[in-house]
């Protein structure tokens, strides 16, 4: 029973990844946007006068979240094409399967984008992450998980709105502020070489919000998608 539930989640996620591998619409726009953000900040700030560690964490998360919005905006648009979302809702699967499948697909897209963005960020801002890579991966993963968890819900909500490109960030950013603040703070502490113990409280905050968002999204997705 549980295997069946997860295999359907996997099928939805894989369907999204397969479609994306063919078109590269989501990934290319996300990656190019994040690259542009990094380059613009790099050129606009004189890194000889400003300590990169004072601004780097903010720049990194601006790149992640804004390019993430581009991906989330496209996520349910594919389902709208030929009214596939209705086809999906007609299948005998629990609505939460659709939510988790879409959410994991978005998570994969964002993590791949981030995996390519981080090395570019390291080069442009001349920051060493060699001995901090493990902590950085944990923070980026947990921050992205929270962002995508609630972002997928709002993406489903805004797909039928005309001005969805504008509405999604307006709806989403106020809700994910706690996670973004905690992720920026903990990334800053990691990059400045603070011991792991100092970032634990921020990590706990991210984990708590991840859980809250996951539970709320799981419970409310059915109502959002049905009406």
């Amino acid at each position: 029973m549980l295997m069946d539930y997860f295999s359907k989640i996997w099928a939805i996620m894989w369907k999204d990844i397969r479609g994306e591998l063919r078109t590269k619409e989501i990934f290319s726009s996300m990656f190019i946007f994040s690259l542009l953000v990094l380059v613009i900040f790099n050129f606009s700030i004189d890194l000889l006068e400003v300590n990169p560690l004072d601004i780097a964490q903010g720049v990194l998360w601006i790149a992640f979240t804004f390019s993430g919005i581009l991906g989330l905006n496209r996520s349910f648009l594919f389902e709208k094409e030929n009214d596939c979302i209705q086809g999906l809702m007609l299948t005998p699967v629990d609505r939460s399967v659709i939510y988790f499948g879409k959410m994991l697909g978005n998570l994969v897209f964002m993590l791949v984008m981030e995996a390519i963005t981080v090395p570019v960020f390291v080069v442009l801002f001349n920051i060493s992450i060699y001995d901090k890579i493990f902590s950085l991966i944990i923070v980026i993963f947990l921050g992205t998980l929270g962002f995508v968890t609630v972002g997928t819900l709002f993406s489903a909500m805004s797909v039928n709105i005309k001005a969805r490109e504008v509405m999604l960030p307006i709806l989403l950013f106020p809700i994910v502020v706690p996670i973004i603040i905690a992720a920026v703070k903990s990334t800053g502490l990691i990059l400045s070489g603070s011991p792991f113990g100092e970032i634990v409280s921020w990590l706990k905050l991210i984990i708590v919000f991840d859980i809250i968002y996951l539970v709320v999204s799981f419970l409310s997705f059915e109502y959002i998608i049905e009406e």
Partner: protein, 238 residues
């Protein structure tokens, strides 16, 4: 008598707008109901309720004797819906689309089942082509293959002829005639009176959210049905 579809007094409102008003509908196994009606009559809303996609504001719906209100969605495996939208992903091939939907329905021996249904609709040669390269008629045939895969006992067709040329419409008509074989219960919404009458066992006219006319096909004078339709629609609608 046991009915496959049994609706009692179903109504659906969106705010102040009533899409359906006190609809009663009973269909036996093997029936093929053609529903005609003008735009905005609530035909698609009725199918959405019958396919457990939306809930009625009031009234009860039983499918195979099971009350939809108490059901968690498992009943949907017995229901197939062909709409004017194909529900197919343009970036995936026909095979990948069917494979995806097959997994959602837990269809055993999926590879062979896909080959069977794709052959049934005459698209074997295009099995590995992306759906975005398909014509409207091919998409509609693939959509029928998608519906046939789990072998549902109930099929809803929502204006399946929309946008099809004459040749594609003829092909679709042949496929629909095949669907009729066996014990399947089918409801088709169409604006095309001629095509509807040639396949159905029951006829209904829906106007302003009500079933204004319901009759067995043997009691319908086909030559006079068109004027009957316009009289019914005109009387209630204008």
């Amino acid at each position: 008598m046991d009915y496959v579809i049994d609706c009692e007094k179903i109504s659906k409102s969106y705010g102040n707008i009533s899409a359906l008003r006190d609809i009663n509908l009973k269909l036996e196994k093997g029936s093929f109901l053609a529903i005609f009606g003008p735009n905005g009559a609530g035909k698609t809303t009725l199918l959405k309720i019958l396919s457990h996609l939306i809930k009625p504001t009031s009234g009860t719906v039983k499918i195979n004797g099971i009350l939809l209100h108490d059901e968690d969605g498992e009943i949907r495996k017995n229901i197939g819906v062909v709409s004017h939208n194909s529900f197919l992903y343009n970036n995936l091939t026909s095979y990948e689309n069917l494979e995806f939907y097959g997994k959602m329905y837990n269809i055993p021996d999926l590879k062979n089942r896909i080959a069977e249904v794709i052959d049934e609709v005459g698209l074997t040669a295009r099995m590995h082509d992306p759906v975005r390269t398909f014509s409207r008629g091919m998409m509609q045939r693939l959509s029928i293959a998608r519906v046939l895969m789990p072998d549902p006992s109930i099929i809803y067709l929502d204006e399946p002829y929309t946008g099809l040329d004459q040749h594609a419409a003829m092909k679709l008509r042949d496929i629909l005639k095949n669907l009729k074989k066996g014990d399947r219960t089918i409801i088709m919404i169409t604006h095309n009176i001629e095509r509807g009458l040639e396949v159905c066992t029951h006829v209904a006219i829906q106007v302003m959210g009500r079933i204004a006319y319901f009759e067995k096909i043997e009691n319908v004078d086909r030559d006079k049905f068109e004027s009957k339709y316009f009289n019914t629609v005109g009387k209630e609608h204008y």
